[in-house]
């Protein structure tokens, strides 16, 4: 069971008898000098009151076993990939396309039978050596044409992989030509894997492309939702395990219509008309804050951060949305829904909490989940003793107020920063500057994100881009009861006898968002923490053989 000591102000003084600074030292011990320098900026004892400067969004150190992926993965895999009725073509050798085929669990539902779900298809130019030598533009153009002939999609999206950038294929010109020729929307993303320092650069590139090539294309009224009084978009929610559907259902119960979820369970048409919303709420700040900002600038749609992971967070987020609209009926209805939903999950929450309160979680994943899931663990009384992102920036740790102080380094400078102006015709502030100011004065925050650190305990360890070696130290020393991580770590962690929940893919479970999702998660955590498996590790004939000590060898 947990052994957590805290000081009077609630800071961790020691966990399993080891203080945070001692553990940090262990993690850094013996690293080559250059590596040590770097990593020491990325492993910090937390101070929620005034977060330290963390070395985030910096280059991954070569030779370190990292969880990070690449720009292509962030762009095609994370942000654009989920749009199921766009036809996606990866321009490059086969691998990049292959690995991003059906591996991210961003679920999609086609409304009628026979309507394309291109997520089931993996399309690539499968570049061969002669395309590398002689250029791949013609092949790409041919591929787009073939794809159009076969499937007649509404839009085609093209993704560049490493060699494409290096050999100088101009995918954007190929896309423009194709668009002209075929009369559909064809656009490209220069999301070569070597750009940036992680998948984060890919998110930015994706946001730029979605904004340029899709947002605002369609001003026609948005179908049955046109007259809905409260229309919002959810940004940065990718419908892993059906989360977006849960959130959508919940908001609908309250009386709020979601025009588009960027980009989980969404259609091309929803995206092109979603600039008609009254509000953008942001789930994954890291991957989509660009879009929120640009839509506000161009169309006047305000945004704020929400979190639908965890029952308490969900309630808070719902209330904030209702409060934004300020409609009494909406507020009342929202309170009713919250009461109902909380009641529905009360019993399981209490049960699971009773069994696992005080247990220790550690979360190393993504660019927002390492934060969001702390709330979910908190719902059942579990402490997050250490956490960190895989590819987040300083603002995700320290809060958006540090944005002005973030130095843009060479890697980030290569990523285009779109210049956006208010749309001369369509800019329409959803609330007047005065009203907004009044709300802010009353404590309502817009364009906000406080970051993870302010909500974590003092002296919890914050570790950016955690390496395999550091994770091992953490497990050996602080013995977390559960770790939230990704597929590449999962079995390492579990071989050490600690259950590990994948927080990218949810271990193929979910949904975990909203109230129903929270209950699912409580039960899943309960299952993992109650599993009998770990009790079986030592066979009965090794009563005093220590775990893992090699068995007797008998001829």
């Amino acid at each position: 069971m947990s052994d957590i000591s805290t000081t009077e102000d609630g800071a961790f003084s020691a966990i399993e008898g080891v203080s945070p600074d001692a553990l940090r030292e262990q993690m850094l011990e013996g690293l080559p000098a250059k590596t040590l320098r770097k990593r020491s900026k990325q492993i910090l004892e937390n101070d929620p009151d005034s977060p330290l400067v963390i070395g985030a969004n910096t280059r991954t150190i070569p030779g370190i076993i990292t969880q990070r992926g690449c720009t292509y993965a962030g762009c095609r895999g994370v942000v654009i990939g989920p749009i199921h009725d766009i036809l996606h073509i990866t321009h490059g050798p086969v691998g990049c396309s292959y690995y991003s085929w059906q591996t991210r669990r961003n679920l999609a539902r086609t409304s009628e039978l026979g309507k394309a779900n291109f997520l089931q298809y993996c399309m690539t130019t499968d570049m061969q050596e002669d395309h590398i030598v002689f250029g791949g533009e013609k092949r790409l153009a041919a591929a787009i044409r073939e794809a159009y002939e076969l499937f007649k999609p509404k839009a085609i999206s093209v993704y560049a992989t490493c060699p494409v950038g290096l050999i100088g294929d101009d995918i954007h010109s190929v896309c423009r030509e194709a668009s002209k020729e075929l009369g559909i929307n064809v656009f490209g993303f220069s999301c070569e894997g070597y750009k940036g320092v992680s998948q984060s650069a890919g998110h930015h590139i994706a946001n730029n492309g979605v904004f340029k090539h899709m947002i605002g294309l369609d001003d026609a009224p948005v179908g049955e939702d046109a007259d809905a009084p409260f229309k919002i978009n959810i940004l940065g929610e990718y419908n892993i395990g059906g989360d977006a559907w849960e959130i959508d259902t919940l908001l609908r119960k309250c009386g709020v219509r979601v025009l588009a979820t960027l980009s989980g369970g969404v259609t091309y048409d929803e995206i092109t008309s979603c600039h008609q919303a009254d509000l953008n709420v942001v789930m994954c700040h890291r991957s989509i804050n660009y879009m929120a900002e640009m839509m506000e600038t161009k169309f006047g749609i305000p945004w704020f951060k929400v979190n639908f992971i965890g029952a308490d967070s969900t309630a808070k987020s719902l209330r904030k949305i209702a409060q934004y609209f300020g409609d009494e009926n909406l507020i009342a209805r929202t309170e009713e829904v919250i009461a109902q939903e909380m009641e529905a999950i009360r019993e399981v929450r209490l049960e699971v909490k009773a069994r696992h309160q005080g247990k220790k979680a550690a979360l190393f994943v993504g660019g927002s989940r390492a934060h969001h899931y702390q709330d979910l663990f908190a719902d059942i009384g579990m402490e997050t003793i250490s956490a960190g992102y895989e590819f987040a920036h300083r603002d995700d740790y320290e809060g958006r107020d540090v944005l002005p102080s973030i130095k843009v380094d060479a890697d980030s400078r290569n990523i285009e920063e779109l210049h956006v102006d208010p749309d001369p015709e369509r800019f329409r502030p959803r609330i007047s500057p005065e009203a907004k100011a009044k709300m802010i004065a009353n404590g309502f925050s817009f364009s906000d994100y406080q970051g993870m650190m302010k909500e974590m305990k003092k002296r919890a360890l914050v570790i950016d881009d955690i390496s395999h070696h550091e994770l091992e130290k953490l497990i050996e020393t602080w013995k977390p009861d559960i770790i939230g991580s990704g597929i590449k770590d999962k079995y390492i962690v579990e071989k050490m006898g600690v259950p590990c929940k994948q927080l990218h893919s949810y271990d193929y479970g979910g949904p975990y968002a909203a109230f129903t999702g929270a209950a699912n998660f409580y039960k899943e955590v309960d299952r993992m923490l109650s599993s009998k498996v770990w009790g079986y590790v030592v066979p009965p004939w090794v009563k005093d053989r220590k775990i893992g000590e090699p068995a007797a060898v008998v001829a």
Binding site: P32, T35, T60, P62, G63, I64, I65, T66, R68, G69, C70, Y72, A73, I89, G92, P93, V94, G95, Y98, Y99, W101, T103, A116, Q120, Y121, C122, M123, T124, T125, D126, Q128, E129, H131, I132, A142, A143, E146, F151, P163, L166, I167, G193, Y194, K195, G196, S198, D411, H468, E472, G486, I487, K488, Y491, I492, K495, M496, V537, V538, I547, G548
Partner: protein, 457 residues
């Protein structure tokens, strides 16, 4: 499911849809894991390494440690020397492997990094500790496929490590081709049962099929030890179990150390396993024990008993070429009708070998290399089969067309059998017989009219 696919073969010259292959580096990474205390290193953008580790992990449900040069845009312009050197320093100081096996990516290939030179420089500069080994294979993603990468890395083992001392080791080299750990374990069991002295390389058993012990070891007990890899140059003969994944290193070993080889198909099914056993027996001059005869006889017995359910059942077999070749021969032995035999990997040898196996008994069989699952699906829509044998990606076709899928080959991302039971050897064949017969009979039991639903089958 796959609703926009239609019957008939579309004309495509540039667009690959639903590939039945992937890129070289993953093969190289997998092969590297078959050397004891080896850290696979991906020289390129970290995304490649992440994808390969994820994919291998999903197949094996085991830790897959590998490092990357984590190229940024700068490295892509100025070359990967600094990145690789820094990586080597970090790897040896933090993870301390015996060997680092570097493979390239399309990125480092396009910019033209000269790995041998970087390795030499690193050694000269003391960045590779004494007694440690760094090897490399060129694995450009725009050439060949995942199986090429596997073969290239296996060839690198030979190139860098195998030595001919002139003193025979009396051992047979077994180059298993790209098989699962459970398969390699079974190949060893059979060789042990025969009493043959052998070196198997690579060997991913006890690396990627580890017990739950409560302890994580980055370098578990499995994998071919470096010393044994070196001794391969002194072996009496090499068995190369697969045209695409085992023949190239065997050829290299012949060229480099004059070790002759015999090229066999992957020992999947009766005759292929017979050939494995018989070749080992001949080379090592041992007698085949009764226990192997009995296993074989039990396989034959069940093939005979269950034959009526397999007879002339049209089947699509797809995946990596060597295992598809092995499986196709077994399908013929079982009485199945191989209607589509597909691989995404390029190589005329595939078509030639399948043609040999099929003879003129299956006039309308469609055999395709450099093909994809979209074409397979188009063809199945036009002229269906009753069974799919291949990797997990086939499940979408299966669901779309209501055809059962027997999971076989790489990758299997959604079931566990491949981790527990081999596909090679007589036991592997029994397991396949079980899987195939369950698939066919379950399907029949689920779909037949009630009056044909029967107790005894």
């Amino acid at each position: 499911m796959l609703d926009v696919t239609t019957a008939g073969v579309s004309e495509r010259g540039a667009l690959r849809i639903n590939p039945a292959k992937t890129c070289q580096p993953i093969g190289a990474m997998y092969a590297s894991l078959g050397i004891h205390s080896c850290m696979p290193h991906s020289h390129g953008s970290q995304g490649c390494c992440a994808y390969h580790r994820s994919h291998l992990t999903r197949h094996f449900k085991e830790p897959v440690a590998a490092t990357t040069s984590s190229f940024t845009e700068g490295a892509s312009v100025f070359g990967g020397l600094a990145n690789l050197q820094q990586a080597l320093v970090n790897i040896f100081s933090i993870y301390n492997p015996e060997v680092v096996a570097v493979h390239t990516t399309c990125l480092s290939e396009v910019i033209g990094d000269d790995i041998p030179t970087i390795i030499k420089k690193s050694r000269d500069e003391g960045k590779i500790p004494e007694g440690k080994t760094v090897i490399h294979a060129n694995t450009p993603s725009f050439v060949g496929s995942n199986v090429t990468g596997y073969a290239n890395m296996c060839t690198a083992f030979v190139t860098y490590l195998a030595e001919k001392t002139g003193e025979s080791s009396d051992a047979v080299n077994i180059m298993p081709g790209w098989l699962d750990p459970s398969d390699m374990r079974e190949l060893k069991r059979l060789a042990d049962e025969l009493g043959v002295k052998y070196t198997i390389c690579p060997d991913t058993s006890d690396v990627l099929d580890l017990p739950q012990t409560g302890v994580y070891e980055m370098y578990p007990k499995g994998g071919t030890p470096i010393a044994e890899v070196k001794r391969m140059g002194d072996a009496v003969k090499t068995l190369a179990l697969g045209e695409f994944t085992a023949y190239p290193p065997a050829q290299k070993l012949l060229d480099q150390c004059e070790v002759p080889f015999e090229k066999l198909d992957a020992p999947i099914g009766l005759a292929n396993t017979d050939r494995y056993i018989d070749t080992l027996r001949r080379i090592a001059e041992v007698e085949v024990p009764a226990s192997i005869d009995a296993e074989r006889g039990r396989l034959l017995d069940v093939i005979s008993d269950i034959g009526q359910y397999f007879h002339n059942v049209p089947v699509a077999i797809f995946g990596d070429p060597d295992v598809v070749i092995g499986m196709t021969r077994f399908a013929v032995e079982l009485g199945l009708y191989p209607k589509y035999v597909f691989t995404g990997s390029p190589g005329k040898a595939f078509e030639r070998k399948i043609a040999e196996i099929l003879g003129d008994q299956y006039p309308d069989a469609v055999v395709r290399q450099t093909a994809d699952l979209f074409e397979l699906h188009e063809r199945i829509k036009a002229d269906p089969v009753k069974l799919l044998i291949g990797n997990t990606y086939g499940k979408f076709i299966g669901r779309a067309e209501g055809i059962p899928l027997v999971r076989f080959g790489f990758p299997v991302l959604d079931r566990v059998g491949h981790r527990l039971f081999p596909a090679v050897g007589y036991r592997g064949a029994m397991h396949l017989v079980e899987k195939i017969s369950d698939a066919l009979l379950d399907h029949r039991d689920e779909t037949c009219p009630e009056e044909w639903f029967e107790l005894v089958q």
